[in-house]
Structures are given as structure tokens and as C-alpha cells.
């Protein structure tokens, strides 16, 4: 089969530049409105429910969802769908346990909530460490996806492609902050949903618009095994480990949690999660069709030939069903997707470095708006450089798998401490610190010892830790450490502050301060 990959594609290039021009325009407009830290981190808290729902969906449907899952389904059938489903079921958890309390208790980052009744400095340092680890792994996945995309479309070297992508992405965050990022997410979410929908429609057109006929064709070509669970998660413990990480990871992703501060109140936060879950669910149902479509129409060998991780399956499918022009459009959408997610991630990382570390730890809570913005922008730039370097090192990994690792870190480092700080009266500073640091260290160490690093990247014969996703060990460990430390070293002051936290969780900040005046 011939494809236009590796040669400059006119529609793709035009699409890229259109999107870049559009988003730079948004950034310019937003930069003029970004006057203080509340604008930079929380878009002035003026985002509506539908806007935030789309932006949440935009932040969440990363390269992993579009390129990675389509690739996994194309290469391993049903097993790839475990990611689609796991990524979605994290949203009800966010809705029931996290979104509204988070909005009512905090200001810019989830560490505001954890630190609410605990001692600020130790909590914020540990939370920043965990957030940065999550952001770094998430960024790597986006860089790998974007690098491959640019490499294939423009025929550039992979390393050069990653550097270019990283630089363009930084420009948005540096100048626009949360207002620009929110709008870039909204534009991207609409583009991605319509792009995926069109691609699925073109694919299904070949099968009389019957998804079952498509799946049947896949079973005929590759055996009925592709429609059932198979080799990707062969080990039962591996299945639980991945499942646990995917479900609980969403509630610990700093860039997602940060979005709840852009809306005016808890009720809007609630409505925005409903919109987000609807959009994201529809999108993941489409990945069923895109993945199997690529498997049948493009063929597994061609997909593997272009990228070992399968990351280009959706683009090859677009080329096959719609020609180079349509592939150009889908590539531009994929690029926009990555661009937007990286912007959101970099912003969350910058918030951890500047709001949590610089302002609260180094400056003890006192820093001018100008200084905060400067530190936030410097941290964004630093993160961008780190992402570029790591993106080059992880070439050839499936990006959905990489994001699965970021979810495992988030579920181990951030989620236990966040949950316990909201719902457990006897939670303590030491326990939060111990849980976040243990969760981060354990998940990072186990990833390092896993087959993905030891066998795939370092080329060793075997890995010390057998699981590819560390969730089943690192998440319970973080909870256990939190409970043990809190029981052994109680903190009466923290327990005392719990009543105020409960009041604020339901009534919000403004009402709460009114009551203290009364």
C-alpha cells in the first residue's frame, strides 16, 4: 500500500499552520487579559460549565487516547480497549469524591486542599514532587507522539521534530497561561471529536455502517482472538494493576484537578464533569472503530512497519480511507491535540513549581504578582526542556502505555493524600508527606525496574519487577503508609482544623469567611 508518509503533505502543513496561527491568536488575546496569578492559573474563574467540560475533555483526550489507543487496538485488538474503558471510569470517581470539595477548598492547585489544615511547607514540597513526576511522564508520552507525527509528515529527524514541537508548545503557555490554554483546549476538543467522528464514519462506510461487520472482518483476518482478551495483559495481576492505575489516576492528575479552579463555583464544576464525561465517553467508543478499522484496512504489518509502538495507526487509517488530504487534516488534529495537552501539563507543572514551591515554601506565602508570573514562566520553560530530552529517550514506546505510567504515578503519589485529606479527620502532615513521597518513589522505582525500561530500553534479558504497570503495589502502599503514619503520630491541630474544612467543602470559601466574621 502506498502512503504519503515521510513526504511533506500540503494539507497537513496548511492545517498545522492554520491551527498554530489560530492558537497564537488566542494566546495573544489571552495574554492581554492575563494580568495576575488568578488569570494565569485559573483563567479568572470565569469559565462556564460547557467550556470547562470541553476543556477537561481536551486536556484528557491526549495523544495517548487518539494515537496510542487506536494503535494498541489495531495491534492487539480487545486488550487496547481496556485502556479506553479504564480512562473513562476515572471520571465518575473524580465527580463523586473530588471535584466539588476541591473547588470549594482550594485556590489554584490540589495541594491547596491537602495543605488546608496541615502544615504548609512539608505538604507542598511533597505534593510538588509528585505532581512534577506525573507531569514529566505525561509530557514524555506527548513528545513521543508529536515527534513521530512530525517526523513522518515532514520527513524530519525524530530528535529535531521533538525539539521543534517542544519549542512551539512552550510559546503558548509562557505567554497565555490558563486563559489561552483553556481556549486552545476547547478548539482542540471540538476538532478532535469531529475528526475522530469523520474518520470513524469513513471507516464504517466500507462496512455498510455496521460496526459488527467491521469487527467480524477483523476476526476473519486475524482470528476471533482479537475480539477477546489476549496477550497484552496476559498476567491476571497485571490486569488489576493497570485497571487500578487507570481508574484512580484521573483523580490525581494535577492538570485535570487544576481545571476545577477555572469555574466560578462547585455547581459549575459538577456540571462540567458531566459534559466532560459525555464527550470523553463518546470519543472512547469511537476508538473501538478506529482501532479495528486500522487493523483491517491498513493491516498490522504496515502499522508496525511505520512505528513499533503502533502510534501512527489512526493516521494510516485516515490516509487509507480518505487519501492524503484527509490524512493531513487528521494529522493537524492530532498535532493540535498534543499541543493543547502539553500546554495544560506545562501549566500544571509550572503551578507546582511556582505556586507551591516558590511562593509558599521559599517565599513563605508572600510574593508579588509580577514575581509569581515570572517564576511560573521560568518553570514552564524548564519543564519544556526536560520534556524534550525525555521525549527523545523514549522513542518507540506506545504512548497510551506511557500515559498509563503517568496515571500510576498520579494514583500513587497524589490520589491517596488528596482523598484522605478531604475525608479523614485524623489525617496528619507527616502522613501526607510520607504517602506522597512513598507513592512517587515506589511508582518511579518500580517503573525503572519493570520490563519496559530494563528490557525494552536498556536491553537487559529480564526485569527485576515483573509488572509493566506498578499500580497494584504502589497505590495500596501509599494508602498503607498514610494510615500507619497517621495512627502512630497523631496531629491534634490537624484534626481540629477538619471541622472548618468540612464546612468549607460544602459551603465554599466566601460563605465560610462570612461565617467567621459573624
Amino acid at each position: 500500500m502506498t502512503s504519503g508518509l515521510g513526504e511533506p503533505n500540503l494539507v497537513a502543513i496548511t492545517g498545522f499552520f492554520l491551527f498554530i496561527a489560530l492558537s497564537l491568536g488566542i494566546t495573544y488575546f489571552a495574554a492581554r487579559r492575563t494580568r495576575n496569578a488568578e488569570h494565569f492559573y485559573a483563567a479568572g474563574r470565569s469559565v462556564t460549565a460547557l467550556q470547562n467540560g470541553l476543556a477537561l475533555a481536551g486536556d484528557y483526550m491526549s495523544a495517548a487516547s487518539f494515537l496510542g489507543i487506536a494503535g494498541l487496538v489495531a495491534l492487539s485488538g480487545f486488550d487496547g480497549l481496556i485502556y479506553s474503558i479504564g480512562f473513562l471510569v476515572g471520571w465518575p470517581i473524580v465527580m463523586f469524591l473530588i471535584a466539588e470539595p476541591l473547588r470549594n477548598i482550594g485556590r489554584y492547585t490540589f495541594s491547596d486542599v491537602v495543605a488546608f489544615r496541615l502544615r504548609q511547607v512539608p505538604v507542598r514540597v511533597s505534593a510538588a514532587v509528585g505532581s512534577l513526576a506525573v507531569v514529566a511522564f505525561y509530557l514524555i508520552a506527548q513528545m513521543v507522539g508529536a515527534g513521530k507525527l512530525i517526523q513522518l509528515l515532514f520527513g524530519l529527524q525524530y530528535e529535531l521534530a521533538v525539539i521543534i514541537v517542544g519549542t512551539v508548545m512552550l510559546a503558548y503557555v509562557l505567554f497565555g497561561g490558563m486563559i489561552a490554554t483553556t481556549w486552545v483546549q476547547i478548539v482542540k476538543a471540538v476538532l478532535l471529536l469531529s475528526g475522530a467522528f469523520l474518520l470513524a464514519a469513513f471507516t464504517l462506510a466500507r462496512f455498510g455502517y455496521s460496526p459488527l461487520a467491521l469487527f467480524q472482518e477483523a476476526a476473519d483476518q486475524y482470528g476471533a482472538g482479537v475480539l477477546g482478551p489476549g496477550g497484552l495483559v496476559s498476567d491476571p495481576i497485571e490486569a488489576f494493576s493497570l485497571g487500578l492505575a487507570l481508574m484512580l489516576g484521573t483523580a490525581g492528575l494535577p492538570h485535570i484537578l487544576m481545571r476545577f479552579y477555572t469555574v466560578p463555583d462547585a455547581r459549575t464544576a459538577r456540571a462540567s464533569v458531566s459534559y466532560a464525561t459525555a464527550f470523553i465517553g463518546i470519543f472512547y467508543l469511537l476508538t473501538f472503530i478506529l482501532g479495528f478499522g486500522a487493523m483491517v484496512i491498513v493491516g498490522q504489518d504496515s502499522i508496525r512497519g511505520v512505528d513499533a509502538g503502533g502510534n501512527m495507526a489512526a493516521l494510516l487509517l485516515a490516509d487509507a480511507v480518505g487519501g492524503p488530504g484527509f490524512m493531513g487534516f487528521i494529522s493537524a488534529v492530532a498535532f493540535a491535540t498534543i499541543l493543547a495537552v502539553v500546554a495544560g501539563l506545562t501549566l500544571a507543572g509550572a503551578a507546582a513549581l511556582s505556586h507551591d514551591l516558590w511562593v509558599h515554601v521559599i517565599r513563605s506565602g508572600v510574593a508579588s504578582e509580577k514575581e509569581q508570573l515570572r517564576v511560573a514562566r521560568t518553570s514552564s520553560a524548564l519543564l519544556g526542556v526536560v520534556a524534550i530530552v525525555l521525549g527523545i529517550a523514549f522513542e518507540g514506546q506506545n504512548v497510551a502505555y506511557m500515559v498509563g505510567l503517568a496515571f500510576a504515578i498520579a494514583a500513587s503519589a497524589n490520589f491517596p493524600a488528596l482523598l484522605l485529606s478531604i475525608y479523614w479527620r485524623n489525617f496528619t502532615t507527616r502522613a501526607a508527606q510520607a504517602s506522597m513521597l512513598t507513592g512517587t518513589a515506589a511508582s518511579l522505582l518500580l517503573i525503572y525496574l519493570s520490563p519496559a525500561i530494563q528490557v525494552d530500553i536498556l536491553g537487559n534479558a529480564a526485569a527485576i519487577f515483573p509488572l509493566r504497570n506498578p499500580g497494584i503495589v504502589s497505590i495500596p502502599l501509599a494508602f498503607l503508609v498514610a494510615v500507619v503514619v497517621a495512627v502512630l503520630w497523631p496531629e491534634p491541630a490537624a484534626a481540629k482544623g477538619f471541622s472548618e474544612l468540612e464546612r468549607r467543602m460544602h459551603l465554599g470559601a466566601a460563605e465560610s469567611s462570612q461565617t467567621t466574621q459573624v
Binding site: F78, S84, V89, I93, E217, G243, H506, V518
Partner: protein
């Protein structure tokens, strides 16, 4: 009744609904993962040409997530918001 009693009742009510729905979602999802882990042949069973039980269950898990969220939003809009408003009015 004092406002702190009302707050406590509101807290218990929210925790009951949110906790119950969380357990429901986790139970459904981990049944699915449990089947993936321990009963692959069952999920691979074809219900009709092109449709395995696993894919149907997968779609149903996504639909269940929507339904549970709808239940929560309905409860929160009808009952929780009213209680919060009443409590604010009293403070």
C-alpha cells in the same frame, strides 16, 4: 437545631450518596477487570458474528459510568444544592 448539626447531616448525606456511587462504579469496573484477568474465554465468547461478550460488557461499563454520573448530578441538583442553600441562609 444548630447549623453545625445541619452541616453534619449534610455531610453524612453527601458521603452516603457519593460513597455508594463510587463503590458501585468500582464494583462494576473490577468485575470487568476480574473477567479480563481470570476468565478470558468467557469474554471472548461470541454473542453474534463480530460481537464478543467482552466488547459488549466494555461498552456497558462506559454506559454505566454515564448513568451513575447522571444519578449523582440529579441528586446533587435536587437535594444537595437545596440543603446547602438552606444552610447558607441560616448562617
Amino acid at each position: 437545631m444548630s447549623s453545625s448539626d445541619n452541616l453534619r447531616r449534610l455531610n453524612v448525606a453527601r458521603w452516603r450518596v457519593a460513597g455508594g456511587l463510587t463503590i458501585a462504579m468500582m464494583a462494576l469496573y473490577f468485575c470487568f477487570i476480574g473477567l479480563v484477568a481470570f476468565n478470558k474465554p468467557l469474554l471472548a465468547m461470541l454473542l453474534r458474528p463480530g460481537l464478543s461478550l467482552g466488547m459488549l460488557v466494555g461498552v456497558l461499563v462506559i454506559v454505566a459510568a454515564w448513568v451513575l454520573i447522571w444519578v449523582y448530578v440529579r441528586w446533587a441538583n435536587l437535594h444537595y444544592d437545596a440543603s446547602v442553600a438552606a444552610l447558607r441562609g441560616r448562617l
